[in-house]
Amino acid sequence: MKYKNVLLKFEGKIATITLNRPEKLNAINDEMLRELMKALEKTRNHYESLVVVIKGEGDSFSVGQDLSGEGTNEIMPPNPRNKAYLYDMFTQSQKNQSIWQYIFEFPKITVAQVHGYCLGMGLDLAMACRAIICTDDAIFGDPSVRMGIASPNPLWTFRVGLKKSKELLLTGRYIDGKEAQRIGLVMKAVPAAELDQVMAVELDAFSRSVGIGGWDQMTDFWCSWMAIMELAGLGAARHMTASVNVLSSIQRPGRSLIERGGFDFYKTRDEQGLKAAIEKRDAPFRKYFPQPKLKKR
């Protein structure tokens, strides 16, 4: 399979999908997401594979959505500066939700292997997997609030509970692998040198974790679990978070957040470049929420 932004490998019962834009820390853009979906579709039809590992090439899992403004017309909401119609924003938001739903409901066992940064949309991707295994210094977070955006990820309270969800999303702060394990966001956080070995053991266990009715019945179980999640609120939650995500993204010149002096990420990026915009976004918070650091390799 010749994709540009992802790599796909089948080996016995394990399929591995590697996000492959290492020079951009695997920032997610339209093309990568499209290729990821194609790779998943191929994996879904691959009889031998029972487990799918999703990981990142290079120094990080993924820093999240590509914020450069290029090649992201599909995954990002239309630029508020262009006075986008609600129609376009809602359509885009719903489409994104269906992508994450597809990954969450994927009928093979999905495992995210995380090292380095796992932020924003990258974290949404990891959370949609059934399990996350990471290095102890991996960095997780969703800084959307600092850009005035409400994350459309409906899984937070299911994964880390109500209180931690509110804290992490309202502060936008980053946590390391150890804290992520403590709060239940990840299954295991291990020293980087041990990650490959731990993954091998866990993937083997996952691939053997069939029940009395074999793999065939597993897939029925999983379908049933998705029904339960829907009734437990996930179905409506998806739509509601998509809706609130749009309402927060629609902040444009002439509307509250920007006019009343809130931080205008897009303007800062267009005037000073992406790196400066990210720095301006995060710098004021370091005093209150120290940012964990990646260990030197």
Binding site: S144, V145, R146, M147, G148, I149, A150, S151, P152, P154, W156, T157, G161, L162, K163, K164, S165, K166, E167, L169, L170, T171, R173, A232, G233, L234, G235, A236, A237, M240, T241, S243, V244, N245, L247, S248, Q251, S256, L257, R260, G261, G262, F263, P284, F285, K287, Y288, F289
Partner: protein
């Protein structure tokens, strides 16, 4: 002297429960003052985040159980009220918690000392709860034949822990509360105020229109998970509880209080559970 004090500083609104001699027990006056102060805090665009805290040694020991000036707080058995009046009273009581839960700006509970009953409910409906390590959380309502009427129990700590804590009425400290998901973080008591101010200041850096939708998104998920229905259902079950038969050999808190005084009644209420809870 106000039973609720409201102050603003550097983008943070502080709401302090102020009946320290009564361990900040909630009575009609305190609830009325909360009702006046909350809309003020919510509508003030300069206030980015609201901190709830308690004057004196405790956060809040729960409902005022004296029976004096407590119509809004607690239904006493033997009150000859129609169903309609009871429904209205229950709805008012729980609407307050629902309203604070949905306040359009982030809320932080700063908890030290006792945080029991409805005091615990206040801490639960706040977005973020930071407590002293030796704070005491608990819900002893069932011992008095009252319904522990907070739907968030199940969402926060799960089925088994909810049953355990509501049936035994045992208190847990800040450290255990953090472990089971009831609160965000427990810190040494002398660091509590700084920890909360630090958190609030970090949040206050952001525009209220950045914070409001983020909170709304999570609360919407909770709505989708049934919380909206849960508030009403809980009101209805409180009505059912008020119809219960008190068997002659069972402890009757209100009778004991009227006969022997509040303190004696509380001691008698807690005595059968004391040893078990201490040895947990």
């Amino acid at each position: 002297m106000s039973t609720v004090i409201y102050e603003k500083k550097d983008g943070i609104g502080y709401i302090t429960l102020n009946r320290p001699e009564e361990l900040n027990a909630m009575n009609d006056e305190m609830l009325a003052e909360l009702d006046a102060v909350l809309p003020q805090a919510e509508m003030d665009l300069d206030v980015k985040v609201v901190v709830f805290r308690g004057a004196g040694k405790d956060f809040c020991v729960g409902q005022d159980l004296t029976g004096v000036n407590t119509y809004e707080v607690l239904s006493e058995p033997g009150e000859h009220l129609t169903i309609k009046k009871r429904m209205e009273a229950e709805r008012r009581r729980n609407r307050r918690w629902e309203y604070i839960f949905n306040l359009a700006k982030p809320t932080i509970a700063q908890v030290h000392g006792y945080c029991l009953g409805t005091g615990c409910y206040l801490a639960m409906v706040c977005d973020i709860t930071i407590a002293a390590e030796d704070a005491q959380f608990g819900d002893p309502l069932l011992r008095m034949g009252l319904l522990p009427h907070m739907p968030l129990w199940l969402y926060l700590v799960g089925i088994k822990k909810t049953r355990e804590l509501l049936y035994t009425g045992c208190y847990i400290d800040g450290i255990e509360a953090e472990k089971i998901g009831l609160i965000n973080r427990a810190v040494p008591g002398d660091e509590l105020e700084d920890e909360v101010n630090n958190l609030a200041s970090g949040i206050a850096l952001m525009h209220c229109d950045a914070l409001a939708p983020v909170k709304d998104a999570i609360n919407s998920v909770m709505e989708a998970r049934g919380l909206g229905a849960a508030w009403r259902f809980t009101n209805n079950m409180q009505l059912v509880m008020q119809q219960r038969t008190m068997l002659p050999d069972e402890f009757n808190f209100f009778k004991a209080r009227d006969k022997k005084g509040l303190k004696a009644a509380i001691d008698e209420r807690d005595a059968p559970f004391k040893k078990f809870c201490e040895e947990r």
